[in-house]
């Protein structure tokens, strides 16, 4: 596996000069009993949800590697060699690399199934419903949410007014999604049933971001609001927000 020096970002031919996590150096990276988890990214909702699953699973030994999007670091060869779609986050679990936040979430939830909060459901049926609601997020919620979030950031960064039409039309798309969520959450405490799962987890950072764009983004849906208050106040998410301050990422206000 190729290794890049975290300092000079060049392909390392001499492991001794490259600043790697000390525990993964050498020809046998996982001979140590201690594991080290690296999460590459910045302060975005997708990265937050990868960090969130680690914290829900009580995996505290995580090294955050800042990929400075504003400086175009995600487009640099050293990053694209690991994540060819030049997106964040990227997880490095010793010598195993994984991208796509929902895939990272599933992997961590399964790997640490025996510890921390149960996140996947117990039976075949429960696990299927959890997967269904994760897909609902990915296929129905995510695109309009992302459009709003990105526009909000661009307006802030380029110091121009918000494209109100774009924001409104995407909130209209979210109306349909929130209507479905409201109905589901009026019958169940969480999306996939009585228990918190990765289906709820994938939403927390995005809903948090959405409220920063429009504080009443989903205020009219009572059950959605109550559900958000529940998942937002979980200690693991509060810790994510605390850790977010470690990355000097410009926040869109």
């Amino acid at each position: 596996m190729e290794r890049y020096c975290l300092d000079c970002r060049k392909l390392a031919v001499d492991f001794s000069v490259a600043r790697f996590t000390p525990l993964c150096q050498g020809s046998n990276p996982c001979s140590n009993t201690r594991e080290n988890m690296k999460l590459y990214g910045a302060g975005t909702a997708n990265v937050h949800r990868a960090l969130l699953v680690l914290f829900e699973k009580e995996v505290w030994d995580v090294e955050l590697v800042h990929v400075n999007l504003l400086a175009g670091e995600h487009m640099k060869p050293w990053y694209q060699a690991m994540q060819p779609f030049h997106q964040i986050p990227l997880l490095e679990d010793c010598d195993f690399r994984l991208y796509e936040s929902r895939a990272i979430i599933r992997y961590i939830a399964e790997k640490y199934e025996g510890q921390g909060a149960p996140l996947l459901g117990k039976t075949l049926k429960e696990r299927a419903l959890v997967n269904q609601w994760v897909e609902v997020e990915g296929q129905n919620f995510f695109a309009p949410y992302e459009a709003i979030s990105l526009e909000s950031f661009k307006a802030f960064y380029f110091k121009r007014p918000l494209d109100k039409q774009l924001i409104t039309s995407n909130f209209e798309k979210l109306e349909k999604v929130f209507n479905v969520y409201e109905a589901q959450l009026s019958r169940n405490k969480y999306l996939a049933g009585d228990h918190y799962s990765i289906a709820d987890l994938v939403h927390t950072p995005s809903l948090h971001r959405l409220k920063r764009v429009e504080v009443d983004a989903f205020a009219k849906w009572k059950h959605v609001t109550a559900w958000y208050e529940d998942i937002r106040s979980r200690p693991a998410f509060q810790k994510v927000l605390e850790w977010d301050s470690k990355w000097p990422f410009v926040k869109a206000e």
């Binding site: 779609f85 991208y99 796509e100 929902r102 895939a103 992997y107 049926k125 269904q132 994760v134 109905a183």
Partner: protein, 207 residues
């Protein structure tokens, strides 16, 4: 087991493929034609609140979203038919990663192209633009498939399967998509390989 949908729909087809790969024969296809507005009927909306297809009813399990259904099929029938999720947790993670790539990067791009070719008269400039975007995604696939035989590794999985119904429409049904194979020999070889699978041929007979 009841599968609600229509064989010509790319999403329903995705689920049919997984059933065929797993050699599951004992199910009924209940036609729900969303183009005729059948997805908006109240009795269907009670089951699938977005009014979309497919929907699976299996005993006390009612499930929608094709990529969730294919995972359920892969897990339920783990011991039979084609192995669709690899052999261990790392394999599964790679399958999930490429399922996300398909669902997010590939799917958005291919749907834009399909939107152009399926509604004549074809806007050639728009077709070139949408195929260009899909081409950029396939450049990454080309690089990946020059290292592994299939997307998640050297094993066929849900990740490859998930591409087949939309891929068929653009590459084989509407021939305009086949231009994307030029300069991408590994993508071409991968497509020819997976589209020659018996389960896929069985689906094509239904369309």
């Amino acid at each position: 087991m009841k599968l609600y949908g229509i064989a010509s729909s790319t999403c329903t087809g995705r689920v049919l493929l997984s059933l065929f790969e797993k050699e599951v024969e004992d199910f009924e296809l209940v036609i729900v034609n969303v183009r005729k507005g059948e997805g908006k009927k109240p009795e269907y909306l009670r089951l699938q609140p977005f009014g979309l297809i497919p929907l699976l009813e299996d005993g006390d399990v009612t499930l929608y979203e094709s990529r969730a259904i294919i995972r359920y099929i892969a897990n339920k029938y783990e011991g039979q038919g084609t192995a669709l999720y690899g052999k261990d947790i790392k394999d599964r993670a790679k399958v999930d990663q490429w399922l996300e790539v398909e669902g997010q990067n590939f799917n958005v791009a291919i749907r834009s192209s399909l939107g152009v070719v399926s509604k004549p008269p074809i806007d050639e400039a728009l077709l070139t633009e949408t195929l260009g975007k899909l081409g950029k995604v396939l450049d990454i696939y080309e690089d990946r498939l020059s290292n592994t035989q299939y997307l998640a590794g050297d094993f066929f999985s849900l990740a490859d399967l998930s591409h087949m119904t939309t891929g068929w429409k653009l590459f084989d049904k509407y021939k305009q998509g086949s231009i994307l194979f030029e300069g991408r020999p590994h993508v071409k070889a991968w497509w020819e390989n997976i589209s020659s699978r018996p389960a896929f041929k069985k689906l094509l007979e239904m369309i």
